[in-house]
């Protein structure tokens, strides 16, 4: 793999032309998909109509675009990028292709608190409107996600953070959360259960600007931070002993990256629920497209955004008027593609 050096002052990165090409292609694809998302819905618009409506504040289409379709599409893209980036970081640190934010307790923690809230609140919860309805579930999710991560992190910390111990503690804690979640589903009324199932599959239905802003802010802060951290990721790949030998201070670097992964996943989950499979599959898809030996971070994020946006387009339209949770579609789209890539890379 050819790699060109890129220097800014004292910092330097290796830039892979293939990764750059793929990232740019992905971004173009993302814009096209978003444009398609703006056009399609109960009110069909052509592209010129979309453009005029965007700037014509008085038209009916303006409301549809600016208050319904655009924030929803942006939420999807941002959440997909955040989950994928989180997954890429965790897979690099754990050196394990199966690792995802579930291992850190984030998405599973969020699922438990939200299901508990929906089941305990009962059907009455469905009639609650206004502030509680818009903020209640995301707040519960964020709280549960961070709490779950704190539990995993706290239990795994012992005179430093060992990647292997983190993964093992993570599977133990995730198992508890998952089982408790399913137990809560058996306790609840079947209607509440169905509503909870939609949430734990990840859904973009009715997402607005209040979901876009936190995810965008999190990405704006955490992406640069993560890219700075890639240098220590490059070193981490050689194994703990070599890393210490290379003089990289392992624990602060690792702890900071874990924290970034937790925050990305927590914010994303609070906005759209734990959209299945994006965090796990996007880094693996990006890795195979770029043909590198560990998940490329930026490229993974772009793959996550494209996957989620395409999935939402399908979730909105295929079974219309019934809308599927987007997380179901990400798996239906992403899984065969990942299988195809695995299949091709073996030949």
């Amino acid at each position: 793999m050819t790699a060109l050096p890129l220097r800014i002052g004292a910092l330097s990165w290796r830039v892979r032309p293939r990764a750059v090409t793929l990232t740019v292609t992905g971004l173009v694809l993302l814009v096209l998909l978003m444009a398609l998302n703006m056009r399609i819905g109960d009110l069909e618009l052509t592209l010129p109509e979309v453009l005029t409506a965007t700037f014509d504040v008085d038209s009916a289409a303006h409301f549809v675009i600016m208050e319904l379709r655009l924030p929803r599409a942006l939420t999807g893209a941002l959440v997909g990028a955040a989950l994928a980036l989180s997954g890429a970081i965790i897979q690099s640190i754990a050196r394990n292709p199966l690792a995802s934010p579930e291992i850190l307790g984030v998405t599973t923690g969020a699922s438990v608190t939200v299901v508990a809230g929906l089941v305990a609140g009962g059907s009455a919860y469905g009639t609650v409107t206004g502030l509680l309805a818009t903020l209640g579930v995301p707040a519960l999710a964020l709280l549960g996600g961070l709490l779950g991560a704190a539990v995993v992190y706290g239990l795994a910390w012992r005179r430093g953070l060992d990647g292997y111990r983190l993964v093992l503690v993570g599977i133990g804690v995730a198992a508890v959360f998952t089982n408790v979640k399913f137990w809560l589903l058996t306790v609840g009324d079947v209607n509440d259960t169905a509503r909870a199932m939609v949430w734990i599959s990840g859904s973009l239905n009715g997402r607005g600007w209040e979901h876009v802003t936190p995810t965008a802010l999190a990405l704006a802060v955490l992406v640069p931070l993560t890219l700075l951290g890639t240098r220590s990721l490059d070193a981490l790949r050689f194994g703990d002993d070599t890393v210490t030998g290379l003089g990289v201070r392992m624990n602060p670097a690792r702890a900071l990256l874990v924290l970034a992964a937790v925050l990305l996943a927590a914010v994303a989950t609070a906005s759209a629920g734990p959209i299945a499979f994006v965090a796990l599959a996007s880094p693996q898809i990006a890795l195979r497209l770029v043909r590198s030996d560990r998940p490329p971070l930026l490229c993974s994020a772009v793959v996550g955004a494209v996957l989620t946006t395409a999935a939402d387009l399908i979730a909105r339209t295929v079974f219309s008027p019934i809308e599927l949770p987007v997380g179901i579609v990400t798996a239906v789209l992403g899984a065969p593609y990942l299988i195809h890539l695995i299949w091709r890379s073996r030949k």
């Binding site: 508890v176 089982n179 798996a331 990942l338 073996r346």
Partner: protein, 344 residues
């Protein structure tokens, strides 16, 4: 170290392992006694013995013979099956996150059951189990075939694990879609997903028994080959191992064991995932010991968790899957924290 010094050490290791084996057998025996005697209606040990050896149709005899014994037997079978399957799966993928569900077994069973409900209106437990078994078998064969494409001596651990995750995710998505559209399917699915060995009846035990036995035989046959594979595929090939065949036998064993357990008891992901990690400090990485130890610990853990589930929430019961997680995970985490875990 000279050969004369190695021999006594190996001898000591062997003795220690045999001691552990006996201790684990004793644990299972205690768990069986608890499982048969404790419940919403406690039965004295003497009465239980009486019910088994010379039943006279008293109330206790009926409780023991029609409820407790089948439940205990299913617990033993499922515990052994999932423990052994977990150890095999982690050995073959060299991945500490691997569990029997990784091959698509769990989601294959769930998808087959849920579709049989909406397509065929299947409603009896036995019919569900057969669909679950069939779904588990088909899904894991598909995963293995996918992981194997490209030849070169069979699937590598990473492609096998990723193909399994991808297929599982796909099947779970399809299952979720059905469940969201059909309330009756949702009702069956959520209880199946929580996992239980209660009120399955003796018939179920007999139906899954042959699959579990076949799986155990294959697992034992697979152990030496798996030991060689854990040195690396090239070394294993150099030692004269047929890598592809060893993997195939391992996958067949995992499929039979976990397919049977999952179809009969629902999703009990916890045991297969965690038991091998609990056992490795006792057995080391030699699969000839790791596999039987994992089976015994799995059985004891499942039975004890089931007993706890019966007594903690009277008059109802807590599903064994939930108890397992609540009991087992803190124990597991404590163990992982206390000593350096044995790496794969």
């Amino acid at each position: 170290m000279s050969a004369t010094a190695v021999a006594p050490r190996l001898h000591g290791l062997r003795r220690r392992r045999l001691t552990v084996l006996l201790a684990l057998l004793a644990c299972v025996a205690v768990a069986v006694v608890l499982s048969v005697t404790i419940g919403s209606k406690p039965v004295p040990l003497a009465d239980a013995w009486h019910a088994i050896t010379a039943p006279t149709g008293t109330e206790n005899d009926i409780v023991i013979r029609s409820l407790r014994l089948p439940r205990t037997a299913l617990g033993i079978l499922a515990g052994i099956a999932l423990g052994v399957a977990g150890a095999l799966m982690q050995g073959h993928t060299r991945n500490p996150l691997a569990d029997p569900g990784l091959l698509g077994v769990t989601q294959g069973a769930a998808f087959a059951m849920v579709s049989s409900i909406i397509l065929l209106g299947a409603s009896s437990l036995l019919v569900h189990i057969w669909y679950g078994l069939a779904g588990a078998l088909v899904a894991s064969v598909a995963v293995f075939a996918l992981g194997m494409v490209g030849g070169r001596g069979g699937p590598t651990p990473v492609t096998l694990a990723l193909a399994g995750t991808a297929v599982s995710a796909l099947l779970y998505a399809l299952t979720s879609t059905i469940v969201l559209l059909d309330e009756q399917a949702m009702d069956v699915f959520r209880f199946w997903q929580a996992g239980s060995i209660a009120s399955r009846g003796g018939e179920v035990v007999w139906q899954v028994l042959p699959f579990v036995l076949a799986g155990l035989v294959l697992a034992l046959v697979n152990a030496p080959g798996l030991n060689a594979l854990s040195l690396g595929e090239d070394v294993a090939r150099g030692l004269g191992q047929n890598v592809g065949r060893t993997r195939a036998v391992g996958v067949a064993a995992v499929t039979l064991l976990s397919g049977a357990a999952v179809a009969a008891c629902g999703s009990l992901a916890f045991i297969g995932l965690i038991v091998p990690h609990l056992v490795r400090p006792l057995s080391g990485t030699d699969h000839r010991w790791l596999l039987p130890f994992s089976g015994l610990v799995g059985a004891a853990l499942l039975l004890i968790a089931d007993v706890v589930g019966r007594v903690v929430a009277p008059p109802g019961e807590l599903e064994v899957g939930v108890v397992l997680a609540l009991l087992g995970a803190p124990f597991f985490v404590a163990l992982v924290r206390r000593r350096k875990p044995v790496r794969l």
